[in-house]
């Protein structure tokens, strides 16, 4: 057997394979980014058309995030609450009387829905409630602990990625970033 020839053929075959896989990988990422950018442009245009002021840029970079396991500690209602962060991502809870302490991240990551999706969800919710949408001041991806749906006293819970839309009237609107 001519090993020199065999090695040459194998090298060429593997190079070609890597090239194809690499290009596919790059194309997929690029496609996803472009999709988010286009979605953001279209959503901004749609908001403008509706006359809903948008005072911030719509995030347009796709990313994957795991869930975040947290525990609750009673907080002093008189003390100033300092924001809690996990790797630069703010952690918030729907319960104001407790302090959220991050414990651990989930093992696996899932792609979050786009900020444009969150904005459209907000518009749909306003339409459903027959209210006029309020201008958007800020859009932020956070970890949210939503204790709704469980009646017992909770000591540990799960925070999921959520888009937080800060509205011009001071209200906030959360959208589950896993799209559930």
């Amino acid at each position: 057997m001519d090993w020199t020839k065999a090695k040459n053929i194998l090298m060429i075959a593997l190079l070609a394979t890597n090239l194809v896989i690499g290009l596919t990988y790059y194309a997929t990422i690029r496609e996803k980014r472009e999709e988010w950018v286009i979605q953001a442009q279209n959503t901004a245009a749609y908001l403008e058309e509706l006359g809903v002021p948008l005072e911030t840029e719509i995030p347009n970079r796709p990313l994957k995030m795991p869930v975040l396991f947290v525990r609750f500690e009673p907080s002093d209602p008189e003390a100033d609450t300092t924001p809690v962060y996990e790797d630069d991502i703010r952690v918030e809870s729907t319960v104001s009387s407790v302090t959220v302490i991050p414990i651990d991240r989930g093992d696996n990551r899932r792609e979050v829905v786009s900020a444009s999706y969150a904005l459209l969800k907000y518009l749909a919710a306003m339409e459903h409630q027959e209210k006029a949408p309020v201008g958007i001041e800020a859009i932020e991806l956070i970890y949210l602990v939503d204790t709704y749906g469980y009646d017992g006293a909770i000591s540990e819970d799960t925070a999921v990625p959520a888009w937080k839309l800060s509205l011009q009237d001071g209200q906030v609107f959360y959208v589950n970033a896993y799209g559930e």
Partner: protein, 478 residues
């Protein structure tokens, strides 16, 4: 020199090949992770080598007891080999139905009771009603025209009053039937031949022993070799594997993204959505699953039972049961509905080392099937540390004594009336309310030992537990 250069080039090529190969794997992994949510886990991809052993639905239908009427007001009752006797009874039913001119006629409750009480008789009793049509289909028994009127069966009975007949009772629907053929074959003799009743415990009606009209049966005396058994929740290894298998199977690849909640007591709940699907692991080892089912076709009694058994087998319910000498059987069935969805809820009891095991307020396994899908499942299994026999029989308290010593307590609980009442009327009330009294091991809250007990069931389904040898109240169901 040239040879050395060639060697160096070949080495370099080999290194490049290895690098390229690993680069291919890395690129493939990156491409795969773009869309996949989970990490690469080889055991998930390889086929499962162990085939699941799903118990047969038929094997779960075990008659609660077989009662032999002697015809003189006394009875003999057995709780062993009941399934074999039931199979024999079904054979007799098949033969009878196959006869030309086989007929079904509805009889009254009094006629049925007369046939059981006044003559030698044999009644195979279940704790629940089995849809009769489905039962016949399951055992491939061809039903003659006219037998469609029989909807449910709780007892299959035979009597010397009509030796060529067979009786079917559905006391809950107050329906009683007599099935008879044209042949001269003695069905009753066929069922009872070779039976040695002398070794069975004698039973009498509550009315005969305590006075009144209650025709439920209780033993006059009893002996037992039961002793207290130390119990514990099933081992951490079994429990952990079952919990993991259940959680993974119920939530699939979403398990890493469902909400995990720990309450202040340490109970862990996995929740999908806002409670469409929840799975709770309680600190006391109980596992509970709830699921919002969608509208599908109803599976029927046996279809739903098979769905339930397949679900429990697939999720490790019987893992380690053999080693623990645990045996499960169906103890209760209830037809349920939710909106347009219909199905059954099944309760499974267990025998541990051949001894009936009772839980003060629950049962080891409970599962509900709605429109062919599992909507509820609860698992609460235990292990015991030694066998429950001393080797010697002891006299247990007579059931009549148990009732006589405790009728005030039973009356107070049943009526909610804690004030003293006329003793005679309280006794009569209790004697009338007795539905069944059985012997077994009972798991009482906050007691690490399974206690030998008399288990008294009253009308309405409330259970009272009394120590077997002292007749002292040790617990009751809520």
């Amino acid at each position: 020199m040239s040879q050395r250069n060639t060697n160096r080039t070949e080495h370099l090529k080999t290194v490049i090949l290895v690098v390229l190969f690993f680069t291919t794997i890395l690129l493939l992994y990156l491409l795969w992770t773009l869309d996949a949510q989970n990490r690469f886990h080889l055991p998930d991809i390889l086929p499962q080598r162990q085939a699941l052993e799903v118990p047969k639905a038929e094997d779960m239908l075990i008659p609660e007891q077989v009662v032999y009427g002697i015809g003189d007001g006394s009875y003999r009752q057995t709780e062993t080999e009941t399934q074999r006797i039931f199979e024999k009874g079904l054979l007799a039913l098949r033969t009878l139905f196959a006869e030309e001119g086989a007929s079904v006629s509805e009889i009254t409750q009094a006629q049925f009771q007369d046939a059981m009480r006044e003559y030698r008789s044999l009644a195979i009793n279940f704790a629940y009603v089995i849809p009769f049509g489905e039962l016949c289909n399951r055992w491939e028994i061809l039903r003659p025209a006219g037998s469609e009127v029989i909807q449910g069966m709780k007892a299959l009975a035979f009597s010397e009053a009509a030796v060529r007949s067979l009786f079917i009772a559905d006391p809950e629907g107050n329906k009683y039937y007599r099935i008879y053929g044209q042949s001269e074959a003695d069905v009753f003799a066929g069922m009872t031949e070779g039976m040695d009743l002398t070794e069975l415990t004698a039973y009498y009606t509550v009315g005969n022993i305590l006075g009144g009209d209650n025709d439920r049966l209780i033993p006059l005396t009893a002996q037992s070799e039961l002793v207290p058994l130390r119990w514990r929740e099933e081992s951490e290894a079994v429990s952990q594997s079952v919990r993991q298998a259940l959680a993974e199977a119920l939530f699939g690849e979403n398990l890493d993204f469902v909400r995990r909640i720990t309450d202040n007591f340490g109970n862990v709940t996995y929740m999908y959505g806002y409670g469409q699907k929840t799975f709770t692991q309680q600190v006391d080892g109980v596992l509970e699953y709830k699921n919002e089912t969608s509208d599908e076709a109803n599976g029927g009694f046996f279809g739903d039972l098979e769905t339930a058994l397949a679900f429990m087998a697939a999720h490790g319910t019987w893992d380690g049961a053999d080693e623990r000498e645990l045996r499960f059987f169906l103890t209760n069935v209830q037809a349920v509905s939710a909106g347009r969805q219909e199905g059954y809820r099944f309760w499974f009891g267990s025998k541990i080392m051949d001894q009936s095991l009772f839980y003060e307020n629950s049962s080891p396994l409970q599962i509900e099937v709605l429109d062919g899908q599992i909507s509820y499942y609860r698992r609460d299994l235990i292990s015991v540390e030694s066998n429950g026999r001393t080797g010697g029989l002891r006299s247990a308290q007579d059931p009549a004594n148990v009732i006589a010593h405790n009728y005030n307590h039973i009356y107070n609980v049943m009526t909610g009336n804690l004030l003293s009442v006329n003793e005679e009327s309280a006794f009569e009330y209790v004697a009338d309310a007795v539905r069944e009294i059985r012997m077994g091991l009972v798991r009482i809250a906050n007691d690490d030992w399974l206690q030998p007990a008399w288990v008294l069931e009253t009308t309405g389904g409330q259970m009272f537990y009394f120590s077997l040898y002292e007749a002292i109240p040790i617990g009751m169901s809520e």
